[in-house]
């Protein structure tokens, strides 16, 4: 079964805006999913305290009430139910700078990337009610622009390294899908993330439509390798800064988000333990949330994550920002 997770506009949920340097850099992603699941799964409470500190979380409703299973027999579960009605941007297309970043996740098969890429872009376009995007950046698993560099601060923001870089062949193959989207006019500019000098050189040799952007993470050590700077300048590639964890959804994160624990959304059942034991550990949980079922069972394999941002160009105001994530639940 496919799981489609969404945050809607995360700017509406204050908790996702908070930026704590001690947090992992995928904190925004995790907290915005969590906030959106909570907003949908907890019955409306009147009089949450005015300074935003809520007391005991109220009991949550069964996941079936707020998620949505595709009616036509496609095994697709939307968490929460997708609703594009209220998400439109307020102004016309040309007022916005729309950037989309697609993270292919480690462990996900690379063969389906064409489909996945189109699906991701389509979801974003539907969410924003827009016909096209300005910049599509793709992030391949396991690569860092400064692999050779020794900068301890930054290494700590990479998140767990769970993948070796994939072969160039596979990246080029993926890029063809982006080139097609560019030719269709759906995407104006293409970009890659975390390409160091050498990787960028070999990549450029093999691509027809060149990336306009290479996005790198240098928050803590404000130094860019000279070679990369020179190459980018000579090839007209803009070096942009990002603060995303390259491994944006490490193993176990989805299970934590969707699982039955206090921090979870109650969509997934406990993976291996027996029913007896779970009851004793999360007695209340079972009583409140999973009265008519145990949650979905099976192994979760996250496939991709997409982040989108719409900024009003001449005012620099971020109007909409959010994530979708798609995972495969196999049982």
């Amino acid at each position: 079964m496919k799981l489609i997770l969404s945050t809607s506009n995360l700017l509406d949920a204050g908790s996702s805006i908070r930026r704590d340097p001690t947090q992992k850099s995928n904190a925004e992603l995790v907290s915005s999913f969590r906030a959106n699941f909570a907003a949908h799964s907890h019955p409306q409470t009147n009089g949450s305290s005015s300074n935003g500190v809520s007391k005991q979380p109220p009991s949550r409703t069964n996941y079936k009430a707020w998620t949505h299973m595709a009616p036509d027999g496609r095994q697709e579960l939307e968490c929460p139910k997708l609703d594009f009605e209220h998400s439109a941007l307020q102004e016309e297309r040309e007022q916005y700078d729309i950037t989309v970043k697609l993270f292919y996740l480690p462990g996900a098969p690379t063969e389906n990337r064409a489909t996945q890429t189109k699906e991701a872009v389509k979801l974003v376009l539907k969410e924003l009610h827009m016909p096209s995007i300005d910049l599509l950046i793709i992030s391949f698993p396991g690569i860092y622009f400064d692999e050779e560099e020794d900068c301890p601060d930054k290494i700590s923001t990479r998140g767990p390294v769970e993948a070796e870089p994939e072969p160039l062949e596979s990246q080029i193959e993926t890029w063809k899908t982006l080139e097609a989207l560019h030719e269709e006019g759906v995407v104006k500019k293409l970009g890659i993330a975390e390409f160091g000098h050498d990787r960028l050189v070999s990549f450029l040799e093999r691509t027809t439509i060149r990336p306009s952007v290479d996005q790198i993470n240098l928050r803590d050590c404000c130094s860019v390798p000279k070679k990369l700077l020179v190459l980018a300048k000579s090839r007209g590639i803009e070096l942009l800064v990002h603060n995303d964890s390259s491994n944006v959804l490490p193993r176990g994160t989805l299970r934590e988000l969707l699982g039955p624990g206090d921090e979870g959304a109650g969509v997934l059942a406990e993976p291996t333990k027996t029913g007896e034991k779970r009851k004793s550990l999360h007695g209340e949980q079972v009583k409140n949330g999973d009265a008519d079922g145990e949650g979905l069972k099976g192994e979760v394999q996250p496939l991709w994550v997409v982040k989108y941002t719409a900024v009003v160009k001449n005012r620099g105001v971020v109007e909409n920002k959010g994530y979708f994530a798609v995972a495969e639940l196999s049982g």
Binding site: S8, N9, L11, D12, A13, G14, S15, I17, R18, R19, D20, P21, A35, N36, A38, A39, H40, H42, P43, Q44, T45, N46, G47, S48, S49, S50, N51, G52, V53, P80, K81, E85, H86, S87, A88, L89, Q90, Q95, D97, V213, I216, L218, C222, V224, L229, E238, L239, L240, V241, N243, T309, V311, N314, R315, G316, V317, V318, E319, N320, K321
Partner: protein, 670 residues
């Protein structure tokens, strides 16, 4: 300040009779402006900074420094520089080049003090992040151009105040004090810009008040300072003007540095930033949200520890300017029972602001100032003209003041295509935020001016603070941040910001949680409100939930460090982390991001104490100077060395290792 309008200014007794006349015409002009511009939408973010300089003249042989009163000559030299004019720059009041497509050269303006100069960018900045990088370079260019049009012994310095202003000798050319306009025993009338507007402003404020303005700044008590300290420079035996009686009536207070003229306040240099909003609603929202930030910005930029040759016990200029233009009568001040005046007025015309103006559903009535004085008749006229109650209240509050400078010629006929009468009141209400309607006759939008910051010694710092405020406005709008605080708390914070090293040692009232509250959604529809009208995002309009809990629970006392850098306990997130969160959400190139990181690092450091404010640095410089005798006296040679040091800091910005305590190690790149 535009100076083109000239005419016959009325002396106070005459001006007073026309005050209501000017006010009612001003209100009609405001209504006309408002009607024309209230529908303006989708204006771009444009913003501008203003840098004010003191022009000092060094005599290296004699080791002394004086204020140069050559403003008019310097402006004339700038206005007749063909190259500057060719590049679109100049002096708008005298001569300016044709606008150019790309970035035009800067423009220069007169200011109140005849020793001052103001410089602004040739055209406003946008939000292109590359624009943000140009700000500092442009500031440096402005200073360079200004310097090039001065004598070789002169320098445009950005200290807030000249440490020897009022010592009866450190001005060049020399004029004796006690002129007919200012009647100051310390400074001559020639200290002010000779344009008739300025001496009239000073004279009429004094006349309305019924005595000279009175500035008593607490002196810093050092080990050898006498107790009680009696300002030794006060002359009790002067008999030129009736106002000379002021000091014999006790105007000079014990333990204070006493000053008696508008020049002591309006001769201070500030760093002001003006933003154009998308439309009137966004402007009103920014005005409200930036207001509680004012005292924090003031404390962070503290740079004014010396007055008239003495160390003061306060760090910032604000209250001195406030008192220097305080035209309230004894009745308005509450010193005498109300007889001929209309009301008691709690604040000077120059003070922290007293209104919130947004139609934001988050604005609770409890936040408003309970002491607000409003001219109900003028308010009724605005409401009758269609303006909503909240905005009408704001302007009817500003219009409780009298117009100070009235030109006889302007009273003939009401011209609704102009804004002169409106501006007469609007621009002599010097609050820490100013809400500015679009001027008639061009396409400018609704603007908000941020006025509390002190000028910094280097252009690096001035750029850093300007850019920081720009980024904060973007974070406020993007994240729908809520900084609402009861206005009286902001007023108190403004006082707190005056204390020595308030940035490190004092606590300020601030809202605990500025972030939108957690949401509950039913079928995707949000049930918690944002700021209501005209939110930047596609939030579903919804009924505001009834706020629960007392307003007092929404805020607490925080240090500047907590407000800027965030609280460790997961409480207040910190303005810098919010700005960084904003930067993470937009596309910024590496070069820009690294430059911005230096700016943000300066502000982080100032807040944490890692970097010093100019006030702290100057105090240390004085304390360690060989001429200083621990008696609070900052003497001539010391001031010469200090201003020389400021010049050195301006030029090298810490790259030579000097004043690193203030600027940090980050200024290594050429």
């Amino acid at each position: 300040m535009g100076l083109l309008a000239v005419g016959t200014p009325l002396e106070w007794e005459e001006a007073k009779k026309s005050a209501s006349h000017v006010r009612s015409w001003g209100i009609e002009q405001l209504l006309a402006l408002w009607r024309k511009a209230k529908g303006k939408e989708r204006d771009a973010l444009l913003w501008g900074d203003e840098i004010e300089y003191l022009v000092v003249n060094f005599d290296d042989a004699e080791r002394n420094v004086k204020l140069s009163l050559r403003q008019a000559d310097i402006l004339h030299a700038l206005a007749s520089d063909p190259e500057l004019i060719r590049q679109g720059g100049g002096v708008p009041d005298l001569n300016q080049g044709e606008p150019k497509a790309d970035r035009p050269a800067p423009t220069f303006h007169p200011e109140f003090g005849r020793f001052m100069l103001e410089a602004t960018p040739g055209k406003p900045w946008g939000i292109g992040f590359k624009d943000l990088l140009d700000v500092e370079q442009d500031m440096k260019l402005r200073r360079k151009i200004a310097k090039e049009h001065m004598e070789s012994s002169e320098f445009p310095i950005t200290l807030t105040t000249f440490p020897l202003l009022g010592d009866r000798k450190s001005i060049t050319p020399f004029y004796p004090p006690s002129g007919s306009k200012l009647r100051s025993q310390f400074v001559p009338d020639e200290i002010a810009n000779p344009h008739i507007r300025f001496p009239t402003l000073a004279a009429n404020i004094r006349a309305r008040r019924g005595r000279k303005v009175e500035l008593n700044v607490p002196v810093f008590h050092d080990t050898n300072t006498t107790w009680p300290f009696k300002d030794p420079t006060v002359d009790y035996d002067m008999h030129n003007w009736p106002e000379d009686q002021d000091v014999r009536n006790g105007a000079a207070k014990d333990n204070c540095i006493y000053m008696d003229a508008m020049a002591f306040g309006m001769g201070s240099c500030c760093l002001q930033i003006t933003f154009q909003a998308k439309g009137i609603e966004e402007g009103r929202k920014m005005y409200d949200q930036l207001s509680p930030l004012g005292p924090i910005l003031l404390a962070l930029t503290a740079a004014t520890p010396i007055y008239k040759g003495f160390l003061a016990d306060t760090d910032v200029r604000w209250n001195q300017i406030s008192r220097a233009v305080d035209d309230r009568t004894p009745e308005e001040l509450g010193e005498k029972p109300l007889k001929s005046d209309r009301w008691r007025i709690p604040k000077s015309r120059y003070a922290s602001n007293s209104t919130y103006i947004s139609q934001d559903s988050r604005l609770r009535p409890e936040y408003l100032d309970p002491d607000l004085v409003v001219d109900e008749d003028l308010k009724a006229r605005l409401v009758e003209g269609g303006m909503d109650d909240r905005l009408a209240t704001h302007f009817a509050h500003l219009f409780i003041r009298d117009p100070i400078v009235i030109f006889a010629e302007d009273l003939q006929e009401l011209d609704l295509e102009k804004s002169d009468h409106f501006e007469n009141l609007q621009s002599t209400n010097w609050q820490h935020m100013r809400f500015k309607p679009p001027p008639p006759g061009n396409d400018t939008g609704w603007r908000v001016e941020v006025r509390p910051m002190e000028i910094q010694i280097t252009d690096f710092e001035n750029a850093a603070f300007s850019v920081f405020v720009v980024l904060i406005t973007r974070a406020i709008l993007s994240f729908d941040l809520n900084f609402y605080l009861p206005i009286p708390r902001t007023t108190e914070n403004m006082e707190t910001a005056h204390r020595r090293d308030a940035v490190l040692n004092d606590k300020f009232y601030f809202r605990k949680d500025p972030l939108p509250p957690p949401q509950t959604k039913i079928n995707g529809v949000s049930s918690t409100p944002g700021s209501g009208a005209n939110t930047p995002r596609s939030r579903v309009p919804s009924r505001p939930s009834t706020p629960t809990g007392p307003v007092e629970d929404e805020y607490e006392l925080m240090t500047v460090n907590e407000i800027i850098n965030g609280k460790d306990d997961g409480g207040f997130p910190g303005l810098i982390p919010l700005v960084e969160s904003y930067l993470d959400s937009v596309n910024v190139d590496v070069e820009t991001r690294c430059e911005l990181a230096q700016y943000l690092d300066l502000i982080k450091g100032r807040a944490s104490g890692r970097l010093w404010t100019a006030a702290k640095w100057i105090r240390r410089y004085v304390a360690e100077h060989k001429e200083y005798k621990q008696d609070s006296v900052v003497g001539d040679e010391l001031v010469y060395d200090l201003v020389k040091a400021a010049e050195r800091i301006t030029v090298h910005e810490g790259r030579d290792g000097f004043a690193k305590e203030m600027l940090g190690e980050c200024r290594e790149r050429p």
